[in-house]
């Protein structure tokens, strides 16, 4: 039996940023990350460890200094057309209503306008925003804007979904609601997900696998943990289970030193 190609493979990625003069900053060194088709992988690490950099490499927004990105076995050149990206900060087009933000990707692909509208309205309903399609982003709350962004990305049915701390700006209740919604949408149509977060609890409750990155610079994965919690999950309830606490303790052991290291570095800057 042939083993399926990984949906996304980052192989020995090193990213060095060029500063002024001879200044160089190596954010990531020799990082390898493999995501199987339909797998939900979270990447956790202390602040400033290059998590977003890694994600931008996977998206093709940033070319790695060395190493290779493979999408379903094929090397990535330019933008990753099979990936959808959910950004940490505001990324909606502010001059478009919620509905037309959701249709944007279809429009770029020359999908007929009526058809695009129908599908977008369907997606707005799925993310719980029926009747809000005519509103502009500034007229929506933070949670609503995240939902629009989610619909905007998922409507294109990407093979790989890249998420960069998408819920970090939300309050804790809205956040757990969104996490449950995300799990529901994902389990209906399993895609590969790379989820970046600094919140270990969020990572464990959502994922199939958690990858821990070391503190930057020259960040790289230092541990991988399979999360064997049963699905479907409720992100609020699953935090109370013994198995969750056990996993949390184990991963935290690995992460703790790195978090302290990262904190020290930021303090000394």
């Amino acid at each position: 039996m042939r083993v399926a190609e990984p949906a996304l493979a980052l192989e020995k990625i090193t990213v060095t940023f060029v500063g002024e003069g001879t200044a160089r900053y190596t954010a990531i060194r020799d990082a390898t990350l493999v995501v199987r088709p339909g797998e939900f992988v979270s990447v956790v690490g202390p602040t400033g460890c290059g998590k977003s950099t890694l994600l931008n490499v996977a998206a093709g927004l940033l070319a790695p200094s060395t190493g290779e990105v493979r999408i379903s076995g094929a090397p990535l050149v330019g933008l990753n057309r099979k990936a959808g990206y959910l950004f940490q900060t505001e990324a909606l087009l502010p001059w478009r209503t919620a509905l037309y933000n959701v249709t944007a990707g279809l429009e770029f692909r020359d999908v007929e306008a009526g058809e695009a509208r129908r599908r977008a309205e369907d997606w707005l309903q799925r993310v719980g925003l029926r009747g809000h399609g005519h509103r502009y982003p500034h007229q929506l709350s933070g949670g609503m804007r995240k939902r629009v962004a989610l619909a905007q990305t998922l409507i294109l049915d990407p093979e790989i979904i890249l998420m960069d701390e998408p819920f970090s700006a939300l309050d804790i209740q809205t956040r757990q609601l969104m996490e449950n919604e995300l799990l529901e949408l994902w389990s209906a149509n399993r895609k590969s997900v790379v989820f970046i977060t600094h919140d270990l609890e969020e990572a464990i409750s959502l994922s199939d696998r958690v990858v821990v990155l070391s503190a930057g610079p020259e960040s790289h994965p230092i541990g991988e943990f399979e999360i064997d919690l049963p699905r479907p999950r409720d992100v609020a309830e699953i935090r109370m289970t013994p198995r969750f606490i056990e996993l949390h303790t184990r991963i935290w052991q690995t992460m703790k030193d790195e978090v302290l290291k990262g904190y020290e570095q930021q303090k000394n800057q």
Binding site: L61, Y85, F87, L93, P94, F108, Y136
Partner: protein, 272 residues
Amino acid sequence: MNSKKISRSLRIWQVLLLVGLFAFWHVATHPSLVPPFYFDNPHKAAFFFGQPLEVAGRIWNWFSSGSIYAHLWVTLLETVLAFVIGTVSGLAVGLWLALSPTAAALFDPYIKAINSMPRVILAPIFGVWFGLGMASKVALGVTLVFFIVFFNVYQGVREVSHTVLANARMLGASERQLLRHVYVPSAMSWVFASLHNSVGLAFVGAVVGEYLGSSEGVGYLILQAEGTFDINSVFAGILVLTAFALALDWLVTVAERRLMVWQPRSGETERI
């Protein structure tokens, strides 16, 4: 309801202030109402400052005889042409330079130089090049409008959020689609922010151009009146111009409200 009341009483005070101003003007320039306190001759004040009733009479005559419409039409057409040509060219050049750094670096000192030049001084040259007709006034207005729009577009394109741009790219936008759906709308918001300025300057271009040499337009009317020391007609012309400038400004405000609904207004809190 309370705020409505306040805004109404404010409006009443504004009108009263205007009436008071005209009343003062009338009393101070009337030969017999107050004894002359500055000029030795009671008719001198009226000679230098005009008289509001006379001014109103001139305006009434212009409009009732219909003689002003041709002049107003010319000035307005010059303003609109200068505004449209200046805005479109400013938009095009702004987009081009903002998106091609090499060209921007090459032209940078020249743009700075042309912008810091007092461009009203070009009016006589335009008169020589384009004649005394409308073209020279439009040209002057364009040089004034162009730079305002140009700098705003340039700034607008460079300040497009990187995340919004990356998002549009990830959603599959081609370079052309990025221009149309990200850069231009973003630049347009800056153009609108400068619209009040650029309409005003288009108007200035038209009137100054007329004033420096023409055979029609409101600026020409003022020039003629000045030549015969008809101070009342000069003031009448200024009042008509002011009214039209206000009307143009109001039109811009209406257009702005219509087209910029996506921008949070002040007072409306922005949720993040």
